[in-house]
Symmetry: C2
Subunit: 564 residues, 2 copies
């Protein structure tokens, strides 16, 4: 179902009616960009907190313009699913509020890529639904209420100020000779209207902003009983002022109507955040493929501006989506990584059709119109549907590995549980995922060294230099043209290299992987520990773990899953 501003409420009704029956919801986003200077600075040995800082900056520049959600409802046979795919077109309302009020960036290749995959930019820019997270919504609501409370006081002030004006005809500013006639004409028009009880409304001719300013001041100056309310009307044919006479009852009504209109506009502006709210409240597992950018965009655009602090970010995601699974991480980790030489979504879908995976029967729902469903990759709704399909096939296979009797596609499976809250990270050498549900992996870097060159050496010469110590893999340090990470192939040689090779030499210096980096991570971890002590529950939400030992066994897979 393609969802734009005009059919959002229809989509929300359908979503509400099925979300509580869902086994899981698959998610995918399309963005205006994913790479910038920040990603060029990705360092394969940085901490998840450092990586978060960089991706956070990227995400704040770009925009998620389409969000796909595919709700998977198990059928009665518990062996098949009905899928409800939605593609939400999303675009900010205006330059005035929300996290993207200052505009957004586009990466040329991302725009071209989407365009080549038939992404409909005209639809998203013209019909995309807005969004306003609950924090901004509350601020706007308060402002409207305050404005309404003081509405008549402010009107009174305008009458009073008009009396103080000293320029001819009670204006606050001198007018040019060429406008004198205009002022006289307007005064005549206003005075005639005010003295004619049969005319409640006066429509002025459309005119420039400067002339409207004159008309406004004249209206307040000439109306002595203060029972008049002017408003500016903007139409295709021009902009004009409409003045109305109101008695006390009508004044109250006018205020009430204005209040209702503004609240209704605010409600429309909340837009896609209503969908995210339904998802959050349903507490249903959320599945994505390579979902780090998706999750950061979801938080930043629809929940709360991305915090500077990584641990605060983790807390926000954990509260909003306590059950997240990343099929990319699953595809690159035991027990199934051997089957996914290519772990892209399309390749994973193709591979998961074959043995040892079983085909899971998934039918599109009949309740919503899937005729307009774009069956091609990079439509977010389709990608979400495919991701959910791959997830279901993986789950069925996991079930065959355990003696669990919960039936097929068991989300409590002890093979699946270690993946809960873990999101694939790229271009990291020994930390394959960001762990939202607990502490991040802290691998030993004892076998890693940094070699800084005064004179450049070829890669092969660098590798050869460590041949007596079991060999080493040199890798360039990003944003630093003179340094290489040295990763010993035989970790047991770490002490020998430390003792015999570390130091300053003619062409280079060799150091152990800087301990200050680890210290940075530790201090951040300490900050996190403090924040947990001070949190309401005093602990990270614990995962439901059926069999501690089995989970631990499969958790080992995760730790060892990613190799160089």
């Amino acid at each position: 179902m393609e969802v734009i501003s005009s059919n959002l409420n229809e989509a929300i009704d359908i979503l509400k009616s099925i979300i509580n029956k869902a086994a899981f919801v698959a998610l995918d986003g399309e963005f205006t960009g994913i790479n910038s200077d920040e990603s060029r600075a990705f360092d394969m040995f940085e901490s998840p907190a450092q990586r978060y800082q960089k991706i956070s900056k990227i995400v704040q520049n770009f925009l998620m313009i389409q969000c796909g959600l595919c709700v998977f409802v198990p059928n009665e046979d518990k062996k098949s699913f009905t899928a409800f795919p939605f593609s939400f077109y999303i675009f900010p309302q205006d330059d005035n509020s929300g996290p993207n009020k200052n505009g957004f960036s586009c990466q040329i290749s991302s725009i071209k890529f989407l365009s080549q995959h038939k992404f409909n930019f005209n639809k998203v820019f013209n019909d995309g639904m807005p969004y306003l997270n609950s924090i901004v919504e509350a601020e706007c609501r308060m402002k409207i209420e305050e404005k309404m409370k003081s509405m008549w006081e402010k009107e009174d002030e305008k009458y009073n100020r008009a009396k103080e004006n000293k320029y001819p005809y009670q204006l606050s500013f001198k007018i040019a000779d060429s406008d004198q006639q205009f002022v006289k004409d307007m005064i005549q028009l206003i005075d005639e209207w005010l003295s004619d009880n049969s005319k409640k409304i006066l429509q002025f001719p459309s005119c420039s902003g400067y002339h409207r300013k004159i008309i406004y001041e004249l209206l307040y100056a000439r109306c002595t009983d203060k029972n008049m309310l002017p408003e500016t009307v903007r139409e295709e044919s021009g902009i004009y002022i409409l003045a109305k006479k109101l008695d006390e009852k009508e004044k109250a009504q006018a205020a009430e109507e204005k209040f209702k209109t503004q609240l209704s506009k605010l409600d429309d502006a909340v837009g896609f955040c209503k969908v995210i709210d339904i998802l959050r409240k349903a507490n249903v597992p959320v599945v994505g493929h390579n979902m780090l950018h998706d999750i950061l965009h979801l938080v930043h655009q629809f929940i709360a501006p991305l915090p500077n602090d990584y641990y605060e970010f983790k807390e926000i995601v954990n509260t909003a989506f306590p059950n997240l699974y990343d099929t990319k991480l699953m595809a690159t980790t035991e027990p199934i990584k051997t089957y996914f030489a290519d772990s892209s979504l399309a390749a994973a879908e193709k591979r998961s059709q074959k043995e040892p995976f079983q085909n899971v029967s998934i039918e599109f729902c009949k309740e919503i119109d899937c005729k307009d469903f774009h069956e091609h990759y990079h439509d977010a709704g389709y990608d979400a549907y495919i991701c959910g399909t791959v997830f279901a096939r993986m789950l069925y296979y996991y079930d065959t590995l355990t003696e669990d009797e919960n039936g097929c596609c068991n989300l409590q499976s002890e093979v699946l549980q270690p993946f809960n809250g873990k999101i694939k990270m790229h271009r990291m050498l020994d930390i394959p995922y960001l762990n939202l549900s607990g502490d991040d992996v802290r691998p030993s870097r004892e076998h890693v060294f940094v070699m800084r060159f005064k004179e450049p050496w070829p890669l092969s010469k660098i590798a050869d230099y460590f041949s007596a110590f079991g060999g080493a893999k040199p890798m360039p340090v990003p944003m630093d043209e003179t340094s290489f990470y040295i990763i010993l192939l035989n970790e047991k040689e770490s002490v020998n290299v430390s003792n015999k090779l570390v130091g300053e030499f003619q062409d280079f210096t060799l150091q152990k992987f800087e301990s200050d980096r680890l210290e940075k991570t530790s201090s951040a971890a300490k900050r996190k520990a403090d924040s947990i002590v001070n949190s309401p529950t005093g602990q990270i939400p614990a995962k439901k773990e059926k069999s501690e030992s089995t989970v631990q066994r499969f958790s080992q897979n995760l730790q060892n899953g990613e190799t160089i």
Copy 2:
């Protein structure tokens, strides 16, 4: 005519055939944004150089995505025109080169505005023509030539390196056990191919980047006669390597073909810059409505990155387009400003249909297809057409003011000439235009003061404070919540105010408009004077001026045209 990548050459042929007959070319651009933090900092008393700095930053962020050019060719009767309108859809080629390689920004309201006016973003993103200015083009050409020269040397190096590799089967890296069989299979495939003289080409199966790296190394290691050339082919179905056996003659041919292909790709990448080149070489007057952003975008995207120095910018524009006219400036300046209370393009078009203006007969050309021409505002081709129409009507009216006998629509008219090279500036109080053709206006600021408050005062109280000195208009200083500019209504009181009111008081300090600002302008002007002395011709390109005194008389209009 809508021009996209695929029909650019056709449009260029038409343009070349008519440009030398043109009286003038009207120009309009559509952008992804026009306002940012920089425009919030616009100061009504800053110098044109300071304003340039701010607009330059804005322009470097956003993108011109459509450029409208309308060529006006006078008919034989010299009283009517044939118009050739073009709407060029423009989009950068990739993330690798050109001024917008790092992406671009979008302003929400600009995107919404264009979208509401039926702007076709899908067309621009998918079919838009690229651009590469002559500086970047030359750099790319040089790189291609260098690469071609060293092509066979580099191939030789690869064969030599392959021999040095020491891991099993001559690889430069250790491979995992799981890949051993793959390596053996590939070696068998390669060796069989090399020993079979009947097979010139070997297509490998599509595989991952890692596996392609293995194949590449194996190819160079196994081929001893060095007469083999591999390439990577990317197709929908996958990415694979194609290896060819080549004799010396074929090698030369292959190099030649590769060179030609790359130069042809480069030529395509130049795209819209070819159009701008035709316009520059034709030396035809260029007309725009409110064209400051258009000109900065034209320079930055299609000629050369915007320089930091304002005077360098002026020189670039003057060289590229020595005859520029801005209809917005003309509409807001004597002798016709009284007719244009609203000087927007649409309003100016409407007003210029009536007296004292005459309707000028303008017909669309028959040579190009105008069926797809979007007759609505904010299509750049249509806006350019309308702008040119307004310009022609203004010219006809100017002709009635002089006794010039050059015929109708005289571009050498002494009423028009003072507008040459002057572009409308907004939100400036006493400098109505940026002057590309000479020194900028340097108005006296003797009657301007700055009042900095320690305690806030209401506007009316501030104005009253100067009532004994003929009154004053207070205006907030941008980005400074505690200061106001004080503009005396009676300039003759400047000395009195300086003597009696300037100083530090309990609530505020009052100072003369800071002389340091003027000093800044002067030092920049001096720099400019220096650069002129050092320039090849030693002078700013002089304008052709028929009657010095009459031109001066009309120039006075320009100086006095803009009032508060």
